[in-house]
């Protein structure tokens, strides 16, 4: 199929996609955006998290056909003017990254959490991020990163 969609603010077109392939596949294999990671393709790890029309989704569970005409934002689209987004900097500062494979998904999920709830409590953070698996960090520093972002938001 011929697919038109907006990715990170840019109109993109894809020829020859199969309707049943995943949005994650389209992003990674067809559009040269491998920032979103494939760690399960079953909607269980959150590594592929992106925005679809402003809603946080697992892109491995969205079909290419469903993404037609929609607006997608990936981890590659969060930096502003070539500068890391403050949340990305919070992750670096806090030591929330080890192998980094879960990180893009966690960054997008955190971005979404803070957009709807700028000052989340600890239980709210835990609930929001419980769908993002990380095997390396033990999560403690990820919590620290999100807490730091929340503190920054309360100062703003």
């Amino acid at each position: 199929m011929h697919l038109q969609l907006t990715v990170n603010g840019n109109p993109r077109e894809v020829d020859g996609a199969w309707e049943g392939e995943s949005l994650l596949y389209v992003l990674r294999e067809r559009l040269g955006l491998p920032g979103s990671k494939n760690a399960c393709e079953q909607g269980e790890c959150g590594s592929c998290s992106v925005y679809l029309d402003g809603v946080l989704v697992c892109s491995c569970l969205v079909l290419a056909a469903q993404a037609a005409g929609r607006d997608v934002v990936t981890v590659e689209g969060l930096a502003e003017n070539g500068e890391l987004h403050p949340i990305q900097k919070d992750f670096v500062e806090a030591g929330a990254v080890q192998c980094g494979f879960c990180t893009p998904g966690l960054i997008v999920a955190t971005h979404e959490l803070l957009a709807r709830n700028p000052r989340p409590t600890d239980p709210e953070i835990r609930e929001a991020l419980a769908g993002n698996l990380c095997r390396c960090t033990g999560y403690e520093k990820i919590l620290d990163a999100v807490r730091a972002a929340a503190v920054r938001n309360s100062r703003a």
Binding site: A39, C40, Q88, C99, I142
Partner: protein, 748 residues
């Protein structure tokens, strides 16, 4: 005179800006034009005769470039055994099954197409005709050889013994506790699965792979294909976690490299999550029978451990991992008489290999559970029992009855600190109050003391080189290739400190055999202890060479030179020369392959749990971890390793378990079936440390990164059993609310 040292500092990790931006490349992100995608067809039977593999439908499907079983690939090499494993040739692991399948998930055929979706469809069309045979999945029954995997050969691949039988001590000892422990199989479950891309170019192949030991993989591929190692270049890009499961040469890697060479086309295989559960190696998997003897005061007299290690269908790395358990079974205690027998037994399950801790968690868990049983029997405080039996700090270096030489330690200090940080006395008082008043839920306090071994095999080395460039920058190369630990930052700290130059002047190269042809790899908590020490030595040698050159260049004795921040100055003058200038005419470089003795990090963990009387729910209220890994080079990195390892230990204690049914079918195929801890399971953690320097390496450091997997499970399970008043029937790993509830309900 300024002496720069970055030891003990936590500069920002170099990888992180690219990682948070999603900009760094892992193996599945590498774009190779014209690359074929491979999909494996795997055995659905755990044990059976493979009569035929019908590839016709797949081969004729549009878009399928090729479909192969072992029959089509007569010269396909077998999966090479790892260097240390004792693998009889008749038990070798075929890269694609021939005639016989021995575990569910074993590769039988492979299908190639220009894209993954097409290859998956092709794989669906492959039909394998298998006559099922009875499967054996438990190492105990397997050892009886009623069902054999490699008849006429016994399923018992090897038997290793430590010490000598202790029956006479057991017979006369005042107190003997016995226990049978099942240390369940776990799935390492790095979030990035396995993956490999092989690009042929004439006789050369370039292998991009998610791996812990590129130099070793290169040697092993070269040997398998009978070609010179120089023809094989292995490149490890960013790796999304490994935890031991990415250190070997897998059958899939042999198949992919073979096809790329045969077809002269690039081929890649990116494992999916379902395959990762069935096809990648598992860890742990031991049944242990322990007898621990003591006198009435609690002085340990003897330990006997009979260990059956389930190593899966083909002897591989798991064959010698079990030896680590035997090696470490006397733990941090003085045990006068010890007898350990470890049998490595094949079963119709996925082969086992290293998983974070690799044999040491199994040892620590068994011993610490047995000690708590003994404390319960004696009515002794478990902390007192441990303090009574620890090796005294003045006895190091200490030769354990298994032959391990512990370099240094102060186990009592670590335990006391852990008790203090846990508020042990208050928690015990609260426990007594609840028990006497009957108020509130059962509270338990558990201790897990451990000693581990870091550095890998005795005498194993790592390559490190340091090159000073004419512009004054420094390039460090190491064979220790990272999977997210942050080596680049920590190694730069070591080299910059040794050369007394700014940290930013040092860059680190790893993970490409063209750049670093020699090396061993990252496992066994060895990178900083062995690899870091090599870099330290190389940097010092480079600096000494520079000093010689400076003295010739400036025509003064070395004693008249002062060195500061990359510059030699003649004392009392302004005549000077920089490191960069000394590297202009002739390359200025040094290398080392240092092999220090193993080190023995140690510590004590204390868990406080509360059990829900009605539901059996386990609430981990607090976990205190006191680790001693000697001098710490980068505290933030070590803390990250500790926390990550602790959460994996919590996973083993409470959630994770690989289960096969009686036919050998794995009952977990997704992350919904295999419960990794999530952020919701993170308890209150208290981390602390004692510092006992390693006397055998220049910077005094020991390995870090596996301790949490070792100390955490016994601390938590001992706490649960403590809350249950010592009743541990049915309380095995992982301890679920159901198991707790059953014990609670039996007593109420």
């Amino acid at each position: 005179m300024g002496h720069r040292s970055y030891v003990g500092q936590s500069p920002p990790r170099r990888e992180d800006p690219g990682l948070v931006a999603g900009a760094h490349r892992y193996v599945a992100d590498i774009v190779v034009p014209g690359c074929l995608d491979a999909v494996f067809v795997r055995s659905f039977e755990a044990h059976g005769l493979l009569n035929a593999v019908d590839l016709a439908a797949a081969q004729s499907m549009e878009g399928i470039v090729g479909a192969y079983s072992a029959g089509e690939l007569p010269d396909l090499p077998v999966t090479p055994a790892p260097p240390r494993a004792e693998v009889p040739p008749e038990m070798s692991w075929p890269a694609l099954a021939r005639d016989r399948v021995r575990f569910a998930g074993q590769p039988i055929a492979v299908v190639l197409a220009a894209d993954r979706y097409t290859a998956e469809d092709g794989a669906e069309l492959v039909f394998a005709d298998i006559d099922p045979l009875e499967a054996v999945i438990d190492p105990g029954p397997a050892a009886s050889d009623e069902v054999m995997l490699f008849e006429p050969r016994s399923n018992v691949v090897s038997v290793r013994e430590f010490g000598a039988p202790v029956d006479d001590v057991m017979d006369s000892a005042p107190v003997v506790v016995e226990t049978i422990i099942r240390n369940e199989r776990l799935c390492p479950t790095s979030i990035e699965t396995r993956g490999i891309v092989v690009v042929p170019d004439g006789d050369d192949i370039t292998v991009h792979v998610s791996h812990q030991a590129p130099q070793r993989l290169r040697q092993s591929l070269a040997r398998s294909f009978g070609i010179e190692a120089e023809l094989v270049r292995v490149i490890v890009p960013h790796v999304g976690g490994a935890f031991g499961a990415k250190s070997q040469t897998y059958p899939e890697y042999i198949v992919i490299a073979h096809l790329a060479r045969k077809l002269g086309r690039p081929v890649r295989w990116i494992e999916d999550r379902r395959e990762a559960f069935a096809g990648a190696t598992h860890g742990r998997g031991q049944t242990q029978r322990l007898r621990l003897a003591a006198d009435r005061e609690g002085n340990l007299l003897a330990l006997e451990a009979l260990v059956d290690a389930d190593i899966g269908a083909y002897p591989h790395t798991g064959e010698f991992i079990a030896a680590n358990t035997g090696w470490m079974l006397s733990g941090p205690y003085t045990i006068p008489h010890l007898h350990v027998r470890v049998r490595a037994v094949v079963t119709n399950t996925t082969p086992t290999a290293a998983y974070r801790g690799a044999g040491r968690p199994e040892a620590a868990y068994a011993l610490e559970r047995a000690l708590d049983r003994l404390a319960h029997r004696l009515g002794a405080d478990p902390a007192e029992l441990r303090l009574r039996n620890f090796i005294d700090r003045n006895e190091f270096p200490y030769r354990s009855p298994t032959g391990a030489v512990y370099d240094s330690g102060d186990h009592a200090a670590a335990l006391r600190l852990a008790l203090e940080r846990a508020g042990y006395d208050d928690a015990r008082a609260e426990q007594r109050r609840r028990r006497t008043t009957g108020d509130g839920n059962p509270l338990g306090i558990g201790i897990g003391s451990y000693i581990e071994r870091s550095g890998g095999q005795e005498g194993s080395t790592e390559f490190g080189s340091v090159t000073i460039e004419p512009d004054g920058t420094v390039v460090a190369r190491s064979g220790a290739t990272p999977q997210g630990q942050g080596h680049a930052t920590a190694f730069a700290q070591v080299v910059a400190s040794a050369l007394e130059v700014e940290l930013d002047r040092v860059s680190v190269i790893q993970g490409d055999t063209d750049e670093v042809p020699v090396g061993v790899g990252t496992f066994g908590s060895r990178s900083m202890q062995v690899g870091g020490s090599s870099l330290h030595h190389a940097a010092h040698d480079a600096l000494e060479e520079a000093r010689l050159r400076a003295s010739a260049h400036l025509e003064v004795a070395e004693a008249d030179l002062r060195y500061d921040d990359g510059r030699f100055t003649v004392v009392g003058t302004d005549r000077s020369v920089t490191l960069g200038q000394l590297a202009t005419e002739r390359a200025l470089s040094a290398q080392a392959e240092f092999g220090p003795p193993q080190a023995f990090p140690f510590g004590t963990y204390v868990a406080v749990v509360e059990l829900d009387r009605d539901t059996g729910d386990i609430s981990l209220e607090k976990l205190v971890a006191v680790d001693d890994c000697g001098i710490v080079i980068n505290p933030k990195l070590v803390e990250g390793q500790s926390v990550g390892s602790i959460i994996q230990g919590i996973g083993q204690a409470l959630y994770e378990q690989v289960v096969f049914d009686e036919y050998g079918q794995p009952l977990m195929s997704s992350l919904m079936d295999y419960s990794l801890p999530t952020v919701a399971e993170l308890p209150e953690l208290v981390l602390d440390q004692t510092v006992t320097p390693n006397p055998n390496v220049p910077l005094g450091n020991k390995g870090a990164g596996e301790a949490g997997c070792i100390g955490t499970p016994p601390a938590i399970v001992n706490a649960i059993v403590d809350a249950l008043g010592g009743r541990d029937e049915g309380i095995d790993l992982p301890v679920t609310p159901e198991k707790v509830w059953l014990v609670l309900s039996r007593s109420d």
